[in-house]
């Protein structure tokens, strides 16, 4: 083997050594960084965010160390440099090796080869060099690893994989035996199974927000002996597992304080119970109640339901009421039940086939959409839409036709239009002195045309009701004739047309038939509009106005009549109070006493807030505890007040200035101060 070949082999060995050593140093640096962070965490509780960057930082450090070592050993790639490195360690070579690498002369080269041949550095220099290269980094790796092994269990885990709830994994350095076992605490919140939500862990919670029914698992360091928790009147005892104590409880239905006790120590945690809200259901169609003339047809039903945690099922619920007076029968049932498997939102569409409900005239059907979420509790998790009432008209009851899609009442439309025409006419009358006769007649006729159109519309409503035919007034001649009739004549004609005499139905106001009760005012309006249009067409708007006012008043009366008729009106009995006064036989009765009204559950206990505020001056911790209890109490009554109190508590806990948060909480909970510019003569009530 020539000298060059030997140097090449040595170079390869050196390069491998450099790379390996760099890797070992890198590993040592990374492990040492993690160990140092663990040690630091042991001394000072490092925040989770900071611990989260330790491993990435250790990796970066390791890579940097590796690269640095590789950079330092970069000259080993050169053959002369390797030869020089050997010459340095084998001085007896007297540069024969370096010279042989540079020598081209064959004779001289063989001499040098022989000289080099005499020295076996592979067996002398290299082992020493290798051991010197590897021992320090291996020692470093060993020390760092030993440090990690020696660190208390859990500390490295907190650094390596920090997670919520690992506060209890960090052992205190020197925990006095008498110290409280209530710090640190980790809690695991397991939501009810039906929600499908995953469990979450928290460190050192001051407030635990969770759904009602969630399982709360508290964990702390130390034995379980003597550790108890109370929520309201319920008491929980801790159990032990290894060097930890554990407590499990269920989130109560109302916000409550959880008080943990360990000998003389106690700790307050707010259980902020969040109830599972019921599904929200809205019925989109039909938009309003409906009266059907006959119990046939189909009613499309459409609605929407949503729930924050997922819907279980939806259905359409109906109740059919039959009968009248004091005798009613009821049937109820469910249609179109659908399962939603936890979908947050659902659209419900179905059609009610009226025929299938076997309804009779006078029957009333109540329809509503119902949705249920996945909460298994019997009384929870059901939401319902508004109810739509479908009534089947009784025989002879032709006051209303089937109303689907719920157009606005016709009379209302007329009233609005008539008002507009009146406004236009009044404006024209005001401008009359300034207008020429031609202009006046032209504008007056334009209004008159509108008035005629409106009259025809009212006529259509009346006659379609009376005859059941739309557009029954189309004949111009007939219109002319009707326009000249009095209201009574028209009504008589209407009665004849409907074949229902006024005497048939007597349970309406003033003995009128329903046909007359509703339509008389409209007919009066119709006639008044006729007169108004006539005056307008001859260019006499001032004379038209009284008729127009009469028409508007009649339309208003028609609306009233319709409402009264549809709603019914019980007979009014006027009691002669003076005659009846103290005429009843009243034996001597024992006195009756009143008990004081309880302090309203909805009231904010401002006086307690005042006491807590006083405590802030001298005893910050006591003030925090008082404010926490107060916050629990107002959580459901005043969410904004509870939030403001939370800010005050946080400010107190963190030692920040409390004034802005306190001023806000004070205004919300106790009301803003009342002030007056001056010295009031009598108290502050005015």
């Amino acid at each position: 083997m020539t000298a060059r070949q030997r140097v090449r082999r040595t170079r390869a060995l050196l390069l491998a050594t450099i790379v390996l050593r760099a890797l070992v140093w890198g590993a040592a640096a990374g492990v040492a960084a993690i160990a140092a962070a663990g040690l630091l965490d042991l001394l000072v509780d490092l925040p989770r965010a900071l611990r989260g960057v330790v491993v990435p930082l250790a990796i970066v450090l390791a890579i940097a160390v590796v690269l640095a070592h590789l950079w330092r050993g970069r000259r080993a790639r050169s053959l002369p440099a390797t030869a020089l490195w050997i010459e340095e360690r084998v001085p007896s070579l007297r540069y024969a090796l370096v010279t042989s690498l540079e020598q081209d002369d064959a004779r001289a080269s063989s001499l040098l080869e022989r000289e080099v041949e005499r020295h076996r550095w592979e067996s002398t220099v290299l082992p020493r060099a290798l051991s010197r290269a590897f021992i320090p980094p291996l020692i470093a790796v060993g020390l760092a690893t030993a440090m990690i092994v020696l660190l208390p269990r859990g500390v490295v885990a907190r650094v390596r994989a920090p997670r919520a709830g690992d506060a209890v994994d960090r052992p205190p350095i020197a925990r006095p035996p008498a110290a409280s076992r209530l710090t640190p605490i980790a809690v695991r919140v397991v939501p009810p199974a039906y929600t499908g939500l995953s469990a979450a862990r928290f460190d050192e919670p001051h407030t635990i927000e969770a759904l009602v029914g969630s399982r709360l698992e508290l964990e702390g360091r130390g034995t379980s002996e003597g550790i108890v928790a109370t929520v309201g009147d319920t008491r929980f005892t801790a159990t032990g597992r290894g060097s930890r104590w554990q407590l499990a409880l269920t989130m109560p239905a109302m916000p409550s304080p959880l008080i943990l006790r360990d000998r003389e120590f106690d700790r307050l945690i707010v259980l902020d119970a969040r109830p599972d809200s019921s599904p929200v259901v809205a019925i989109v169609a039909p938009t309003r109640d409906t009266i059907l003339r006959t119990p046939t047809g189909r009613i499309p039903i459409r609605g929407e339901a949503r729930d924050a945690l997922g819907l279980a099922s939806t259905w359409l619920e109906y109740i059919v009421s039959s009968g009248q007076g004091e005798s009613f029968r009821f049937r109820s049932g469910v249609l179109a039940r659908r399962s939603h498997n936890g979908a947050r939102q659902a659209t419900l569409e179905t059609t009610v086939v009226i025929d299938s409900l076997r309804l009779a005239p006078g029957d009333v059907v109540h329809l509503r959409l119902v949705a249920r979420d996945r909460n298994p509790a019997r009384d929870a998790g059901t939401g319902a839409s508004e109810t739509r009432v479908v009534r089947i008209a009784r025989v002879g009851e032709y006051d209303s036709v089937a109303v689907e899609g719920a157009p606005p009442p016709e009379a209302d439309t007329s009233a609005i239009s008539q008002r507009m025409l009146i406004l236009l006419t009044e404006a024209l009358v005001r401008r009359e002195p300034r207008l020429s006769r031609d202009t006046l007649v032209r504008e007056s006729r334009a209004i008159g045309d509108d008035q005629s159109r409106l009259r025809r519309r009212v006529g259509e409503i009346i006659f379609s009701r009376l005859t059941g035919e739309e557009g029954a007034e189309h004949s111009h001649e007939e219109e002319e004739r009707r326009g000249q009739m009095t209201a009574e004549e028209l009504l008589r004609a209407a009665e004849e047309a409907t074949e229902h005499g006024a005497g048939e139905v007597l349970d309406f106001a003033e003995g009128e038939s329903p046909v007359v009760a509703i339509n008389r005012p409209l007919l009066e309006a119709y006639n008044a509009m006729w007169s108004a249009a006539t005056e307008l067409n001859v260019g006499a708007p001032r004379r038209a106005l009284p008729h127009m006012y009469a028409a508007l008043a009649a339309i208003e009366r028609a609306r009233q009549a319709e409402r009264v008729y549809l709603r019914g009106r019980p007979a009014a009995v006027v009691v002669d109070v003076n005659r009846a006064r103290l005429s009843g036989k009243r034996d001597s009765l024992p006195p009756t006493s009143r008990s004081p009204r309880a302090y309203p559950s909805s009231a904010i206990p401002a006086h307690r807030f005042a006491r807590a505020a006083e405590l802030m001056i001298d005893d910050r911790q006591a003030a925090i505890d008082s404010l926490m209890l107060l916050r629990i109490e107002v959580l459901d009554r005043s969410p904004s007040g509870a939030a403001a109190l939370g800010d005050v508590i946080a400010a107190l806990r963190e030692g920040r200035t409390v004034a802005p948060a306190l001023a806000r909480a004070r205004n919300i909970l106790a009301g803003p101060p009342r002030s007056d510019n001056g010295l009031q003569p009598w108290g502050v009530a005015w």
């Binding site: 009421s321 009613f328 007979a571 009691v575 109070v577 009843g584 009765l589 009756t592 009143r594």
Partner: protein
């Protein structure tokens, strides 16, 4: 208008006007036994209107299912919150009928859960004394209808007071006659109405 005015609640879904003579009969009894100023006629107020806040006591009855509209429900909630007293009577005297099921559900949704009132509740001693709790109606006793005797009334309690009184004893039928006919009764069966009104006025 400082006198007590008996107000009947008019709601959208049912036959709210099924007991038109009850107001007059109750008014007559108030005048007959107490010195409370009372208006000679009752009024009807739509449950969805602000008018209900002019009458701190409302009487609600009917046979048909009770389904409040959104406005009615909101009004009832606010009415009760402000201290109003709602007297609901099931005109069917059912135990599980349509009115009962729907009305109790609506009351629960708008005012709070119903609880059984003990038969020694202050309501039964507010004026006349009813040692056995709510007086039984003839419909319960004579087997007319479902032949059920309801032992308790129910109520929504707010701050220790009955805010909603719920009865399925059908007082609406029991008191549904013209007050002039009271003279034909050996025992006035509307005395409990006096207790209800006095309770509402003083508690």
């Amino acid at each position: 208008m400082r006198e007590f005015v008996f107000a009947t609640a008019q709601y959208e879904s049912g036959d709210w006007d099924s007991a038109p003579l009850v107001p007059a009969n109750v008014i007559d009894s108030i005048a007959r036994y107490t010195s409370i100023d009372v208006a000679p006629t009752g009024v009807i107020v739509a449950l969805s209107s602000r008018d209900i806040f002019r009458h701190p006591m409302l009487y609600l009855t009917g046979h048909l299912p009770v389904r409040f509209t959104t406005a009615e429900r909101a009004n009832v909630t606010e009415f009760v919150r402000r201290g109003g007293f709602l007297f609901v009577d099931d005109h069917n005297h059912d135990i599980d009928g349509a009115f009962h099921k729907t009305a109790t559900e609506e009351i629960h949704r708008s005012a709070g859960p119903l609880v059984e009132l003990p038969n020694d509740h202050a309501l039964y001693r507010a004026f006349f004394h009813f040692a056995d709790g709510p007086p039984t109606t003839s419909h319960e006793l004579n087997g007319w209808g479902d032949n059920l005797v309801h032992k308790h009334l129910q109520g929504v309690i707010r701050d220790g007071r009955v805010a909603v009184l719920y009865s399925n004893k059908d007082y609406s039928s029991e008191w549904g006659y013209h007050p002039d006919n009271k003279r034909f009764l050996a025992i006035d069966n509307t005395k409990f109405a006096v207790n209800v009104v006095v309770y509402a006025l003083t508690r």
